[in-house]
Symmetry: C2
Subunit: 316 residues, 2 copies
């Protein structure tokens, strides 16, 4: 079944990057949280700058009741808002494939609780900067990785989505099994996001420094090693080594910083700076819960988890 | 030898609390870092409010060359500035007893490198809030603990200083051996200061919460347990259990907060908020170095050390 109509639920940076690019190829509707956001998008379109440069026309609404049928739904809400989103779609759109993109683990199971849709698991390494309701800058033009979730859909369907994303100017890669990639990203995120949130550092070269004993790279590596032990106990062979992902990302960041671009601010640091609730329960929390289930000690991730929760409690 | 003239080196909160109170009993000179601070103190005196309430007259200078003879020198500089202070006194004041008050370990050895003065080790639990160069509020009226350092002076001399402090309205307690108290405070400080600096939390009841698995109290207790293992390996029997110190302090803080007073902001959090270099190298650093010397693993303190160093590096 061809993909002609796409719903993007969530008008944050990642949702906007999908919606804007895809709207150049297919009919796109964005489901936003705020009605004024939807009105602005419908009236002005969505401008994407940075790695891409265009303004896309799309539909937008803040009211799930107004949604027309779609073939593919990209659920790009924050992990915290995913359950409400799945509930709003419950009992409708039986022919749609839904794709989850949330950080952490468990998004698919959660959506599964609200309907029998075919599900695609995805993780993305894209990033951007939100300039306004109708303008997002495409910062890191890295890949989205996607795979069929637990036999609910086929690899062919996933490859169809991969082609659609690639054809719209994004980078995408289909996997028969996403778990190795999901776990690589989980370990990377649980480490880089919490370290950034607590140190107020963007993801800079210091995350890979291994010169002095007090250097941050040692902590980053120790956190990743803990995560790798949990993945091994879960029987997952990682797609990429999280430490190598870290080293590559900070090198790329340095090149971009030298070219005058900003250093990448991990979302958890952005949340802490804006005194928003972070996704730590879904990222580090998912890793710590898996570790407990498997009987693997993760004292450093447990410490980071408690520190970030305490940091959030200091907002008030 | 009676104590009639006291030098207080360092015009920060702690130095000011000693100088102001002692000036009511003996002749006090404050050695400040900034000349305008010394001029203001000499002209206006030093106002102490809060737990005490008076204005003290005292001498003040920012030039060590101007210092007259003194019987007792309280070195109340930040740990970072102690070496320069000891160097400035080197070769002079052979009859003076010097008392170090710095957080961490190793202040006495450092001063010892600059002269053969009799040395008194001290730690203080007092705290205050600096309102201006000439006004400090006395917040926590807790004890100063002091003891002779490594045979360089007698317990009687220490008791003499204890009486002088008590007679000036401060709380003091002389110990034949300060190490058990120093280590209790080191473990308390290495934990409470770094946790506060990273979470942006004052020392509030959350530091003792042990309800949910993500509660901060578990991390605080784990950090203190690591510290206690190092103390045990060093052959030190702690004077007070750091966890009990923590519970008592947050309970006291709650009572004061209910009465409208502020929650106590640990110095390392105050430093981070003001983007100043912290004392982490002298506090957590001292503990981690001792642990390494003794072969005791301290992964959590090592992580906190790296995080605070990274937090400092984010200032620029």
């Amino acid at each position: 079944m061809a993909i002609e109509r796409v719903l993007v639920a969530g008008g944050g940076v990642i949702g906007s990057l999908y919606a804007g690019h895809l709207a150049r190829r297919v009919e796109v509707t964005v489901l936003t949280r705020r009605p004024e956001h939807a009105r602005a998008l419908a009236a002005e379109g969505l401008r994407i700058s940075g790695k891409s440069d265009f303004t896309a026309k799309l539909h937008a609404t803040a009211d799930p009741a107004e949604l027309a049928d779609f073939d593919l739904g990209i659920l790009a809400t924050k992990a915290i808002d995913l359950e409400a989103c799945a509930a709003a779609l419950s009992g409708r759109f039986p022919n749609a494939t839904l794709m989850t993109i949330q950080n952490g683990l468990g998004a698919e199971e959660l959506v599964r609780g609200y309907g029998e849709w075919p599900l695609v698991s995805a993780v993305t390494f894209m990033s951007g900067v939100r300039h306004s309701d109708t303008h997002v800058e495409y910062e890191l033009d890295t890949e989205t990785w996607l795979g069929p979730y637990a036999g609910t859909t086929t690899f062919e369907r996933v490859q169809e989505i991969e082609r659609l994303l690639a054809g719209s100017g994004l980078h995408a890669r289909a996997f028969p099994d996403l778990r190795p990639a999901q776990w690589s990203k989980l370990i990377f995120n649980a480490t880089v996001n919490t370290v950034a949130a607590l140190t107020d550092l963007a993801h800079v070269s210091r995350f890979a420094d291994l010169d002095e004993p007090t250097d941050l790279g040692f902590l980053v590596r120790d956190l990743m090693d803990e995560g790798k032990r949990v993945a091994a106990a879960a029987g997952v062979e990682l797609h990429e080594d999280p430490w190598e992902m870290n080293v590559l990302a900070v090198r790329k960041g340095e090149t971009q910083a030298a070219a005058g671009a900003y250093a990448h601010v991990p979302s958890m640091l952005d949340d802490v700076r804006s005194r928003r609730r972070t996704e730590v329960d879904f990222i580090t929390g998912a890793l710590v819960r898996e570790a407990e289930r498997l009987g693997i000690p993760v004292p450093l991730h447990t410490a980071m988890y408690r520190l970030v929760k305490a940091r959030e409690s200091a907002y008030s």
